[in-house]
């Protein structure tokens, strides 16, 4: 376990080789100093998110402007952590039913997409919103009204 400098060898050659290797390293750093920085100026500029980005849960609207969700509970059963809860719907049955309540807890969600894939009606997706900052646990729980995507112009 002796130090490298105790090795037998040509010390002078070692010094020259060592100095040259440090010079090579300096050349690398110098080249990189001339490259432009890659820092993105967040939050002054918003990040560029791809379409596939898995952010805050979004409830999609159907043609009639109502949420597509039929409160079938498929997403609730698929969720590993129990982030989805309190799903309720109106009194109709099957495809005609529409959800009236839906709770999603962002602090429990893994953003794993299993709920989206489980949904037979393509009613939910994980959207592009990334900033769900809150000052209390309650503020990380969202209800149906907060999750619905914005209505189109002229729709109810």
């Amino acid at each position: 376990m002796t130090s490298q400098l105790d090795r037998k060898g040509n010390h002078f050659a070692d010094v020259v080789v060592g100095a040259w290797s440090i010079a090579r390293g300096l050349a690398v750093t110098f080249r990189n100093a001339l490259r432009p920085p890659i820092t993105e100026n967040y939050p002054a500029r918003p990040p560029k998110l791809p379409p596939a980005w898995r952010g805050k849960l979004v409830h999609k609207r159907g043609e009639d402007g109502r949420p597509r969700c039929t409160a079938c509970l498929a997403c609730l059963k698929a969720c590993p952590t129990g982030a989805i809860s309190r799903i309720g719907g109106d009194e109709k049955k099957g495809r005609e039913r529409r959800a009236t309540s839906y709770d999603w807890d962002a602090s429990r969600c893994l953003f794993c997409n299993l709920c989206v894939e489980a949904c037979p009606f393509d009613a939910i997706c994980l959207g592009q919103e990334y900033s769900m900052v809150g000052e209390s646990r309650e503020q990380s729980r969202f209800e149906l009204a907060e999750l619905l995507e914005p209505a189109e112009e002229g729709e109810p």
Binding site: S3, H11, I22, G25, T29, N32, I38, T39
Partner: protein, 345 residues
């Protein structure tokens, strides 16, 4: 303050004016000393603030990122001031069981010599506080003081790891002082004097010492050993954060820590300025005013030191010691021998 010093002209005329009003000369001397000390301190502190900012910007450039860019405009120029203000507002903690007097004194013993040593640095042809006859020796003597302060800091912290860090720092400092002094001896031999003014005037008209064989070797030695004296990578084991021992100043908070930090950068500035003075012809240079040349040469050295710091990894303590004793000291002795021979021939 000798009358022959470069600032003697200002001193003499003010002294005449003072004595013409019938006031005793010694009071004026006292005021002059305080004013000079204040000027030096302010200049150094401002330089240090700028240096910290520069280090962060340079490291950002090398690492493909932007350095500070929020505080004080697009270039973050007030970042260091903000950091210093933050440190001032931190809680002052003295560990239980620490040796209070030594603990409090240690940062000053590190900081004050760093300021003192600037008394002999020629910022320009007219700006030199004191051109002592033994200028070089003064630098060597005063540069040895921070080691004591460092050790006091490690000891007084009542912390195993700080103590270990301090002992390593002392061993490193003392080992690297030998080749440092020998390199400076080479310069003294080449200039024929210990006076900084003589060293500077020996390099006028482009006869910089670095161009004189074998002073190139002395320059390399001085450069490497000064990095070790300032505790910069690759020799920064005494204050390494990512190693096992956090360092000698681990127990220091707030302004006390700021003093260590400022002392390190002040020492860096001094070492670069002194390197420029001894080897690169001080403030000599065509066209531009002398102080501009001083700044250019000093910052060239500083940039080189920073460049190395952000490129190479850290050496282990036994490798640091081996490097000093088995490589640098023999090289320094050979350089002194060669310098002596060249000055006789």
């Amino acid at each position: 303050m000798t009358a022959a010093s470069p600032t003697g002209g200002v001193y003499q005329s003010l002294m005449h004016w003072w004595q013409a009003h019938g006031l005793p000369g010694w009071i004026f001397d006292g005021i002059w000393m305080v004013v000079m000390a204040a000027v030096v301190t302010v200049v150094i502190l401002l330089s240090v603030l700028f240096l910290v900012w520069l280090e962060r910007k340079i490291s950002g450039d090398i690492q493909s990122r932007v350095g500070p860019n929020r505080v004080g405009g697009r270039f973050g120029l007030l970042q260091t001031a903000a950091d210093a203000l933050k440190l001032l507002m931190k809680e002052d903690i003295i560990p239980a069981g620490a040796d209070k007097i030594v603990f409090v004194l240690a940062p000053f013993l590190v900081f004050v010599p760093t300021l003192m040593v600037f008394l002999v640095v020629p910022f320009s042809d007219r700006w030199l506080v004191a051109d002592l006859n033994i200028g070089l020796l003064f630098v060597v003597a005063v540069s040895a003081f921070p080691v004591i302060g460092l050790f006091m800091a490690g000891w007084a912290s009542n912390n195993k790891y700080a103590m270990l860090g301090a002992m390593r720092a002392v061993a490193q400092s003392m080992s690297y002082e030998i080749p440092l002094i020998l390199a400076m001896v080479c310069v003294a031999v080449a200039a024929g004097s210990l006076k900084i003014g003589d060293i500077v005037s020996a390099q006028e008209h482009g006869r910089w010492f670095i161009l004189r064989f074998p002073l190139q070797l002395a320059f390399v030695l001085y450069f490497i050993t000064s990095m070790a004296e300032v505790n910069r990578v690759p020799f920064d084991l005494p204050e390494a954060e990512s190693e096992l021992v956090a360092g000698y100043h681990v127990e220091y908070t707030g302004m006390r820590f700021a003093l260590f930090f400022l002392a390190e950068f002040g020492h860096l500035f001094f070492v670069a300025a002194f390197c420029a003075t001894l080897f690169l012809g001080a403030w000599h240079g065509p066209v531009l005013p002398p102080v501009a040349w001083f700044i250019i040469k000093t910052y060239a050295m500083i940039l080189a030191i920073m460049w190395i710091r952000w490129t190479v990894p850290r050496l282990r303590i036994d490798q640091i010691m081996g490097f000093a004793w088995k490589l640098l000291i023999p090289a320094a002795l050979v350089t002194v021998l060669l310098t002596g021979l060249m000055s006789v021939l």
